[in-house]
Amino acid sequence: MSGLLNYILWMPAIGMLAILFIPSSNKTAIRYTALITTAITFVLTLMLWAGFDNSIADMQYVVNVPWIPDFHINYSLGVDGISLPMTILTGLLFFLCILSSWTVEKSLKGYFALLLMLEATVFGVFFSLDFFLFYVFWEVMLLPMFFLIGIWGGENREYAAVKFFLYTFFGSIIMLIGIIALYYSAGNEADAFNILAHHGGQYIDKTVSIFGMDWEFNKIFFWAMFLGFAIKVPVFPFHTWLPHAHVQAPTAVSVILAGVLLKMGTYGFLRIAFPIFPQAAVGYAEIIAVLGLISVLYGAFCAMAQNDVKKLVAYSSVSHMGFVMLGMAAMTTQGMNGAVLQMFNHGTSTAMMFLMIGVIYERSHHRWIVRPDGTKGYGGIAKHMPTYTVIFIIGMFASLGLPGLSGFISEALIFLGIYERFTTITVIAVMGLLVGAAYLLWMYKRMFFGEPSEEVRSYSDMNYREIAYMLPLCAAVIVFGVYPTPILNIMRASVGKLVTLLAGFQ
């Protein structure tokens, strides 16, 4: 089944084309086409997992076809232990998002077509083994996102969409220069765009001249790549696009944004920036760790100050992605494994949070815990919507890092990994956990306790469709919280290889 990656990558694209040919009046057919496409894709990702050999650290299911022979650009795909968890996550979240978007009415056809296009490009980023291909998918992803936020978003959607687009575009075009510089530094011309061929830190003694000054190739292009990926993660101080994009985006898009797209940034570090420039990565580990730490704390404190529940969760994403950065900066086996696991776990738990906010938003059409004029928004939901409350608690505690749920294991691994190297940072970062618990519990108290208001009383509890798309995520956070071994097994070999590579430059 070596063509499996092709099927996964192009299945959503085929679904998109199919949707474009369905007349826009036939809404049911459009919805079911999207649902079936993503369901098949998800099943295919599970098949990928089933056929995946955990003991191999290198790429599996490799596809390699020449695309532009003159420039040695290949259509080359592959999956390893770092990209497989992300692939499964992507397959799952898109499937659930289609379910959660069942009630979308506005230009339904375009909405589902763009969501499927987005899915294809996300897979493309996780599978690409060719720089050019990677860059194309990385950029094309912006188009559906721009329209999804800009057309189906909230009141201030245009500003959010443009800001998101510009930030990411800026980062990636700087990255492009890095890619081109690497092209000309390749030892073997045929492998000039091959990401894997650049691994291993071959660019140590090279210098380049920019603005009339000599720079170390290794360092300057590490930062070029860093910029591209850090904007995507987002790491403080490049995070300012995130709250806008999240708040304005429709529910499903927020889920995808937080659940999958942010991981593309950290994935970029693991696949490109770290293994290609290991010397710079090791040398700047402390800076990366400090930036991660600031993200953790700053995100947490910002979240605490929010009255808009979606913005609160958006800032909590900044905070949680900070932990991933910390784990990566540790460059130890535990830290790296924790980081990749956290990428997966944050994907499931934050998706739960955003989906739950979407559920309540469909009923209330606002997201205020406390309205700007000081009056109470939500409150007393616990008494009125018991099912909602239970599922929300699971999601919240998973994201808070309660032992027994998924977030705990990955954060614990990250702290285990980083303690040896950056003890002070670890101590401060643990405080971040405390702040995290504080804002989530405080939010919980304000939203769920007390007497339900007239408005809250008018909400209906979750229906079967909503419960149906929450259950897989509930299962995921509980199962992987108690028994994370399946996911850890997938990544062990590949992460081990990366850690060994980095350790050679310590």
Binding site: I68, V136, G150, I151, A161, F169, I177, I180, A181, V208
Partner: protein, 487 residues
């Protein structure tokens, strides 16, 4: 390889066809009194003539470079490929002029005649091999351009633009001639071959050469509207009727770029004492052109003006390709001009449609275009993203190739500036895309002239943009193997 004078004409068939077409158009214009019928004839003749011209160019892409007419004109694959792009551009604007109500009915056939005339000038320019031919080309191109600018005779903006264009043009042509006379004084010949030999023979850096080359560059720089000779372009673009603007954004620019590439490649391609200085100068001009163009485009309300500034930005990028010399730079320039032609034609066609509806090209009239006219709106969006350099569209590949060529030559600073410029340009392209797609239209709006052929036309512009973004290996192969005649 030189050939005898009479057989020279065999290598000049495309140009001859264009000249005959122009004469035929003139004849038709005066032979038929009846308006409706005359216009049909004129269009059919024009399209057939240029199609023949295109065909003969395609048939005869020379493998070996030849100089004809006693060495004053060269026929090489580089100039032929440039000419193909120019002819495609001219043909494209024919349809825009046919649809546009920006040109009054009675002047429509004049537009065709002069456009073909400018094309002939551009073709001559692209393959000129001595200073005199070059000057002839520039003047043929310019004088007809001045008239085209003021085609909308009763419109004061159009007349103003014409005067401005002519004044600037006169001064720059004078400076260019002055520079040429210095070159003649220094090298004792107007033949490029002699000048090249003279440069190679020089022992040390000669400031007089660079100064006279710069003066010479003023004339060309003005044609391609690069900084600091770009001031006329926004006014002229805004004042001219939309099809004329589209034409100016394509044919004279491409012709000018062909000349800059040829001169740079011939004079400085083989390392000599003056190369470094020239390289540095063009680098600075390229960087400033991009930056000034894109920054000025940021706050434009008139879409034509915005496109004018954005095309200045594109010229900056192409100049960056010019100084990389070599195969890769050559392929990159040719590729860029081709993609740029399709993008410009598409963008101006949509603008023309909006002008037809509202009489103005102000960006606010683009509101909700994607909702009222989905094909126009989405095609324009694709074009805008392509102009900004987003994959998977041709514009990205074009920029990518240029930046690749620059990084290869170690021009990392310039590549970085180009990259940042891409981001700046995205700001204003996105602004327009946002207006079209995310905002709602004001009421029901119908474009009368928007017919089935219009849909076909705009789709025909978008398909190559997408195609060139995905499968560019073969065309790039053809382009990077293009040869410039070396004396």
């Amino acid at each position: 390889m030189t050939v005898t004078l009479l057989s020279n004409l065999a290598f000049y068939i495309p140009e001859l066809i264009a000249i005959i077409t122009m004469c035929a158009l003139l004849f038709m214009e005066s032979a038929y009194g009846d308006h409706e019928r005359r216009r049909t004839f004129v269009y059919v003749t024009g399209v057939i003539g240029l199609s023949l011209c295109l065909f003969s160019l395609f048939k005869n892409i020379p493998v070996e470079s030849i100089s004809i007419f006693a060495g004053s004109v060269v026929v090489d694959s580089f100039s032929t490929l440039m000419k193909i792009t120019m002819v495609i551009g001219t043909l494209g604007t024919f349809y825009i002029s046919h649809k546009s109500i920006d040109i009054y009915e009675e002047f429509k056939s004049e537009y065709l005649i002069m456009a073909v005339g400018v094309l002939v000038g551009g073709m001559l320019l692209a393959s000129s091999n001595n200073l005199l031919t070059l000057y002839l080309g520039v003047e043929t191109l310019s004088i007809l351009s001045y008239v085209m600018t003021s085609l909308k005779r009763r419109d004061s903006h159009s007349s103003e633009a014409g005067i401005k264009y002519a004044l600037y043009g006169g001064i720059t042509a004078g400076v260019m001639l002055f520079g040429m006379s210095h070159l003649y004084g220094i090298f004792g010949s107007i033949q490029f071959g002699e000048i090249v030999n003279g440069m190679k023979a020089m022992q040390e850096f000669n400031i007089a050469v660079i100064i006279s080359m710069l003066m010479f560059f003023v004339g060309i720089g003005y044609k391609i509207a690069c900084f600091p000779f770009h001031m006329w372009s926004p006014d002229v673009y805004q004042g001219s009727p939309a099809p004329v603007t589209a034409f100016f954004a394509i044919v004279p620019k491409i012709a000018g770029i062909a000349v800059v590439a040829r001169v740079t490649y011939q004079f400085f391609g083989a390392e000599n004492v003056n190369t470094e200085m020239w390289m540095r100068l063009i680098q600075i001009i390229a960087a400033l052109t991009m930056t000034v163009g894109n920054l000025s485009a940021l706050n434009q309300k008139s879409v034509k003006r915005m496109l004018a500034f954005s095309s200045i930005g594109h010229v900056g990028l192409i100049l960056m390709g010019v100084i990389t010399f070599g195969e890769q730079g050559m392929g990159a320039i040719l590729f860029y001009t081709l993609v740029y032609t399709f993008m410009t034609l598409g963008a101006f066609f949509v603008t023309t449609m909006v002008i037809n509806r509202t009489g103005s090209d102000d960006a606010v009239y683009f509101k909700g275009l994607a909702k009222t006219h989905p094909i126009l709106g989405f095609s324009m969006t694709i074009i805008l993203f392509s102009l900004a350099g987003m994959p998977p569209f041709g514009g990205f590949i074009a920029k990518f190739n240029i930046i690749m060529a620059a990084v290869d030559k170690g021009l990392l600073t310039l590549a970085l500036i180009a990259a940042i410029n891409s981001v700046i340009s995205l700001v204003y392209y996105l602004k327009l895309a946002r207006t079209m797609i995310l905002e709602d239209a004001d009421g029901e709006q119908k474009i009368d002239s928007y017919s089935l052929t219009s849909r076909v036309y705009i789709i025909a512009m978008v398909i190559p943009i997408i195609f060139l973004g995905l499968f560019w290996n073969n065309i790039y192969n053809l382009y990077s193997s293009a040869k410039i005649y070396l004396n």
